[in-house]
């Protein structure tokens, strides 16, 4: 993975299947800044082990930002448990590629602030193109 930035890891990306690896790969292809993100996959792990894994990745890297894929997902549940009582870290659930692209370019901001900013960018990045609602399909 190439590193187009000057900083080390700034966030964890965790989710179902190969979601995290895929998103981080896409970020790296587009920006060369994939090294800012630590992908975490959790196949076959119970809730307790998912929490241990994400916690250990945070401790090893010192990152304070976790991106997860789904509000109801096991990684989100684990992250919320990890962040309970922690006031200097943030969880962004429902992450998409535009969110991460914004995040890796916001190096001038503290990572937690960059994550909040990127979440807003990701939220408005979804667009619908094509037939208006209610149009009968052939």
């Amino acid at each position: 993975m190439s590193d187009g930035s000057t900083s080390g890891p700034r966030a964890i990306v965790a989710g179902h299947g190969d979601f995290a690896q895929g998103l981080v790969s896409a970020v790296d292809v587009i920006t060369g800044r994939g090294a800012q993100l630590i992908p975490v996959a959790v196949p076959g792990l119970c809730a307790e082990d998912i929490e241990k894994l994400i916690r250990s990745r945070m401790q090893e890297s010192g990152v304070k930002v976790i991106f997860t894929d789904l509000q109801a997902g096991s990684c989100t549940m684990a992250a919320r448990r990890i962040l309970r009582g922690v006031d200097d870290a943030v969880l962004i659930a429902g992450v998409n590629l535009p969110t991460l692209l914004d995040f890796v370019f916001a190096e001038q901001m503290p990572a937690v602030d960059a994550a909040r900013h990127s979440a807003e960018r990701g939220r408005i990045a979804i667009t619908v193109v094509g037939a208006p609602a209610g149009v009968k399909q052939a």
């Binding site: 809730a47 109801a72 997902g73 989100t76």
Partner: protein, 161 residues
């Protein structure tokens, strides 16, 4: 309608349950039976935040579930009964009214042997499942609706893998 799925899943409420099963089965409520969660407001809030606004979650102890399950079975909506372990589900089976069990996720822990990608069992758990099957309960493993259900016999005899 009734409880359309009786699932054992140690992750309790997560993506496979809320999205994978609940959407195709038009599930509108989950009965989560777990003595620990039923006594923790924080845990309950954690799980509530994971479900869509049109879905209710009821948190019950085993004792309360045994009393109240008939009421949930009579609910006009579709619901899922969810436990985090085999022992809890077994107690509910003992109380009657459960004819099938879905093994949705029993993950790795010390002493357990892998049976499927998402099912690991120790000897006691295997015995408990065999006992349920002997009593006429249809036990099968199936993590998501699109997967093939794997009967307990196949699971324990390695036919599934």
């Amino acid at each position: 309608m009734t409880l359309v799925l009786h699932r054992i899943d140690d992750r309790l409420i997560h993506g496979q349950v809320v999205v994978g099963w609940a959407q195709p089965l038009d599930v509108r409520f989950i009965v989560l039976v777990d003595d620990e969660v039923a006594t923790s407001e924080w845990e309950q809030e954690l799980y509530r935040m994971g479900v869509p606004p049109n879905m209710d979650v009821y948190f019950l102890t085993v004792a309360k579930a045994i009393d109240e399950l008939p009421r949930y079975r009579a609910d006009v909506r579709h619901g899922i009964l969810l436990t985090g372990d085999i022992g809890t589900m077994r107690q509910l089976v003992d109380a009657g009214g459960i004819s099938s069990i879905n093994l949705g996720g029993i993950h790795h822990r010390a002493g357990r042997t892998q049976r499927l990608r998402y099912v690991f069992l120790n000897d006691q758990e295997e015995s408990a499942l065999r006992d349920l099957a002997t009593r006429g309960v249809a036990v099968s493993a199936q993590d998501v609706p699109g997967a093939r259900p794997i009967p307990l016999d196949d699971l324990l005899h390695g036919v599934a893998s």
